[in-house]
Amino acid sequence: MYERPRRRQLAVLALLLAASIVVITVDFRQRQGGPVDRLQRVAIAVFGPLQQGASAVVRPIGNLVGGVAEIGSLRDENRRLQSEVARLQGQERTYQDVLSENERLRGTLGMAKRCGCRTVGAKVVASSGSNFQLSVTVDVGARQGVRRDMAVVDADGLVGRVTQATADYATVLLITDPTSGVAGTLARGKAPGILKGGGEQLLQFQPLRAGTEVRLGDAVVTQGYQGGVFPAGLPVGVVERVDPAGAASLVPRVAVRPYAALGALDVVAVVLDRPSPPPRERGS
């Protein structure tokens, strides 16, 4: 029940599908430094300024409508959001906005000071338009010393890590992305574990040791290790739900709500210092 394809049409389709598969293969084989990686940098460099301009124009609208749209799923924050929406309704990007941005910037710098790291402040200019990847674009890049795999924080906690950096822009993968994994530890008891994103608002904390005791309200912070991405001690989130260990799993299933306002990121800081790499073995 469709139009009979002509030979030329099928040839074009086959060519385009083959080209897509070749691109996927090249991208996976040479993730860093390959031709696709270079094309990606060009795309971000070209679209970065456009996104920055568009974002400056539409951010107040997006924040307002976005705030309204999420009220249903954030009942416990209903009151706070409504007051936020009411505040946004009456404001354009004026003196009050600049003041509050300054405050967030100070908070972000305060967060960076907690780990004693060098940082560079950045503004979020765009979010990923994909439904399968949670990332943001920030307005700092290699010129400001930003490199791949650097940690990113906001005033409240860990935001994610840099996955791509051009001269003036960088892409930051959020900790809630399904492909994100962070070495974390419970602030109380120092029990180590892995924090994994699930594409939703909450993170999953998987303790590494069976019998780990986790309580509601426990804080989770990053665990630093040589060669890792994140400096130790950055606040990540708070335990919101605990499903005790049972027959299906030796360790409890723990849901962690991130401290960082990942749904409404505005000002962040890229941590320029990374845990030092592991010493090379002699002879290697």
Binding site: M1, Y2, E3, P5, R8, Q9, V12, L13, L16, L17, A19, S20, I21, V22, V23, I24, T25, D27, F28, V36, L39, Q40, V42, A43, I44, F47, L50, Q51, A54, S55, V58, R59, I61, G62, V65, G66, A69, E70, S73, A126, S127, S128, G129, S130, N131, F132, Q133, S135, T137, T163, Q164, L173, P178, T179, G198, G199, E200, Q201, G263, A264
Partner: protein, 166 residues
């Protein structure tokens, strides 16, 4: 050349919309996918070859910009553009519901196919894939009355071959 510029502007506008305005309008964790609506509109206006070519270009740029595995969206949008271009002969009804159903089905197929490929590469979970498809399709249905006629009219007004003038 005018057509290339016009369709490139559609892709650029779609990507800017998705990464700025629509990124802040997530419902239940998903965002609408206006690019697939644009692919459907171009394929309905210009046929399978143009639909596939536009889908490939739009998907490729989206993959590059959104830091996805490059080629995944290009592959899926190419298939969607071609398939919609093939069935357009049978979508002769001017009733908006028919076109809405087509846009919804294409959105669902696009998200599920993208999700399936990402799942194969272990970059997504079954739960996210299953949940995203219907939600994005519903979200896209809301945007279809605005995006679809606009892009389709543009694609029809800027023909593939230049008009011969005497």
């Amino acid at each position: 050349m005018r057509r290339v510029f016009a369709l490139a502007a559609v892709v650029a506008a779609g990507l800017l919309l998705e990464s700025t305005v629509l990124a802040g309008l997530r419902l239940a964790g998903v965002r609408p996918d206006v690019l697939v609506l644009a692919v459907v509109a171009v394929a309905m206006a210009s046929g399978p070859t143009s639909g596939a070519a536009f889908g490939f270009s739009a998907g490729l740029v989206a993959d590059l910009l959104f830091d996805l595995p490059v080629g995944v969206s290009a592959l899926v949008y190419t298939a969607v553009g071609f398939a919609v271009g093939m069935v357009r002969l049978y979508v002769t009804s001017p009733r908006p519901l028919v076109h809405l159903a087509l846009a919804g089905a294409a959105s669902l197929a696009s998200v599920w196919c993208c999700g399936l490929l990402l799942r194969v590469f272990d970059l997504s979970s079954w739960e996210v894939v299953a949940r995203s498809g219907p939600l994005v399709a519903l979200y896209n249905l809301v945007l279809t009355p605005f995006v679809y006629p606009l892009v389709r009219t543009l694609a029809e007004r800027v023909p593939t071959k230049p008009v011969e003038r005497w």
